[in-house]
Symmetry: C2
Subunit: 403 residues, 2 copies
């Protein structure tokens, strides 16, 4: 008799057959005596179709109207899933974001959940209804429809789990769980039975793309146990939970991120406060900087290299060019032909030699390292994009095949 | 400086080009200094597409979930129209049924508007916004989404016009106004400049299909001046208003309705109260009866014939068969091969000979009359469906070509 939140992404409800499949998973859970809240994304291509319709009319439409348009996508998927559950003979009710109590900030297209008023959801659960909730959407204080941005449905699911004090939040995807590396690329990639929030956060940030980062942060904050699993198989997935009692693995996974641009600011004056001024410029435009490398000063000048997301590359170059016009400097370069490869593992903190092992794997594969960045539970290197898949395989087999 | 409500049907917003066309009509009205509320239906085939999606999953889905699904259609069209208006550089805001204050009964798929709380609409108009409202939809007292059934967007528009005390309610369609007969079928059909609510009601009921009946009833009740006009041309349309100061035309129009089935209940006992019992049976199943004809009693029995909408035909036959099993009777027949032809005109009341003229036209065309029904402003005849178009042409030219 648990309260379980289940979330299904757009590909899991892409057509009638898959909607029926999801209905069976949901009702199987309900049949066992559980209360079930289901969070659904828009069907497969619906969002893209709607964006195309909008672009035909006005590519520069306001974000408010974009949210109004996109929110129709989940409205379609929740009602279809509810109809499928009705067909299987179970009591069900679908709820839009505003009906389910999702109150958000007013930042259209990337709103933050402020509060989930669960009155309606709890009332429906009391009536023994399966509750199907539109993910990704809510309303702001003006009663206007908002959306949460990419991966928002994961966040919706965790937010409901937190607000209803659910026992488990299952995130159904098209993979069977969290792997030690991308299983489509690395032959020996292994599914993890369990992973900590922090490791999952590093993996999500680093491009593993299994779980949305905000949802993991929220799960960590409210201590919601997550399970990542596939809607296509019956296999158990990966549990994401607090690390306290976990046996620490040395390394949990290897991740690749190709959405990286490297900016080089060459020959700037080697004077105090320069780095501060430089990164303030970027922060003022809300550009996140990832890896930073600064050369040793020589002849009164130094070089500063950093990475940003590809979409911020051009703006960062422009800012840096303006910057060296003022403080002095030789030139600004950008390279988009790079990839960031990272290993993540809570075991790293207490084991030396992890970095060495990673570098050895890259050396064996004759892959050159451009930049290095480390944290307590992760090590990232920047390499040529061309070498990315090889690097992941080499590192993965170093850590996982040599046991 | 008037407040004008404009309603556009699904074909008027069927694609990007037409949405832009509607945006131009709306902004032209706004530019002249008017406050504008626009009511829009779902785009062209959206509703049909959504129904198909639902039927693939569960043809017997609950009406609640059907309404949840269908309401997504107007959500898409209002946001697209708002984007088009933004593109033309005008301030605009789109509102869903619940945001626009539409409170309805709980009869899913055919809800009645109980009240329009115009607070939000008036606030947006005060801010000089063009307000685009989703027609056809509202919410009930459980905060669940409802739809108003066929032609509901017309009713939405008139309800807003009534609640905001608008100066004019323009119903844009794909015809230029109300005609003396169907212009696609009758060559000399003339557009009417003006018509009374009552005449329009008879025409709407009789299958002219220009305006939804409930919307005309509501316009009459709240004395809202309607204009029916085309979104494709600039031509002035037909004004629908109170008849008081109108010069009465003898006959306003000729209409055809082929959605008719004739039921014959043959040889029932000629005793008092029988007709009452018979029609009570139909009323208890909410089957509307239109024309009624009762033969003179002979040999202690009589025949009762009546018409119903085609979709009620089978159920009516079943009810009548059960009925004669109890009270006695010979047999029950149904004919779906019939059409109802009607002439409507406020002038009829004071002019004798209108019926004669109509019957003469049918006689000249050698068309047999099966049943006749009259009211103060209309005369209807039931004829063979095969003769329907000929009958309309013959009657139309009798009244409109002989002037």
């Amino acid at each position: 008799m648990s309260l379980i939140v289940q979330k299904f992404g757009g590909s899991s409800v892409a057509n009638a057959e898959r909607v029926m499949n999801v209905a069976r998973i949901v009702t199987d859970t309900y049949k066992k005596g559980n209360s079930v809240v289901v969070v659904v994304s828009a069907q497969g291509d619906t969002t893209d179709d709607l964006i195309e319709k909008a672009n035909e009319i006005n590519p520069n439409a306001s974000k408010r109207e974009k949210d109004m348009l996109l929110a129709a996508g989940e409205q379609i998927s929740i009602s279809l899933l509810a109809m499928a559950i009705e067909k299987l003979g179970y009591p069900v009710v679908s709820l839009l974001g505003w009906q389910a109590g999702f109150q958000t900030s007013s930042a259209y297209t990337s709103a933050r959940i402020k509060r989930v008023n669960t009155d309606r959801i709890m009332k429906e659960l009391d009536k023994k209804n399966i509750v199907v909730v539109a993910g990704f959407q809510g309303i702001n204080r003006y009663n206007d429809v908002t959306t949460l941005g990419r991966g928002g449905s994961d966040t919706s699911a965790v937010a409901i789990a937190a607000a209803t004090n659910a026992d488990l939040c299952q995130i159904y995807t098209d993979v069977e769980g969290v792997y030690t590396a991308d299983p489509r690329k690395v032959k020996n990639a292994r599914k993890l039975d369990i992973i900590s929030y922090d490791e999952m956060l590093e993996l999500a940030t680093l491009g593993a793309q299994v779980l949305n980062n905000r949802s993991v942060e929220m799960a960590k904050k409210y201590n919601i146990e997550l399970e990542v699993l596939s809607s296509m198989t019956n296999a158990p997935g990966t549990i994401v939970k607090e690390a306290v009692k976990m046996e620490k693995m040395l390394v949990s996974g290897v991740a690749k991120d190709t959405n990286v641009a490297r900016i080089s600011v060459i020959g700037v004056p080697d004077v105090p406060g320069l780095a501060f001024k430089l990164f303030s410029k970027l922060a003022s435009k809300k550009i996140n900087v990832d890896i930073i490398l600064q050369s040793i000063g020589r002849d009164g000048t130094k070089d500063i290299l950093f990475t940003v997301a590809k979409e911020n590359g051009k703006e960062a170059v422009k800012l840096m060019e303006d910057f060296i016009d003022v403080v002095g400097g030789k030139e600004v370069n950008i390279s988009e032909n790079v990839a960031k490869i990272s290993i993540v593992g809570a075991g790293m903190e207490s084991h030396s030699g992890v970095a060495t092992k990673m570098f050895e794997a890259l050396y064996d594969a004759q892959i050159n390292i451009q930049m290095i960045s480390t944290s307590e539970i992760k090590i990232s290197v920047l390499i040529d994009a061309y070498d990315a898949d090889n690097a992941v395989s080499a590192i993965h087999s170093k850590f996982f095949d040599e046991n």
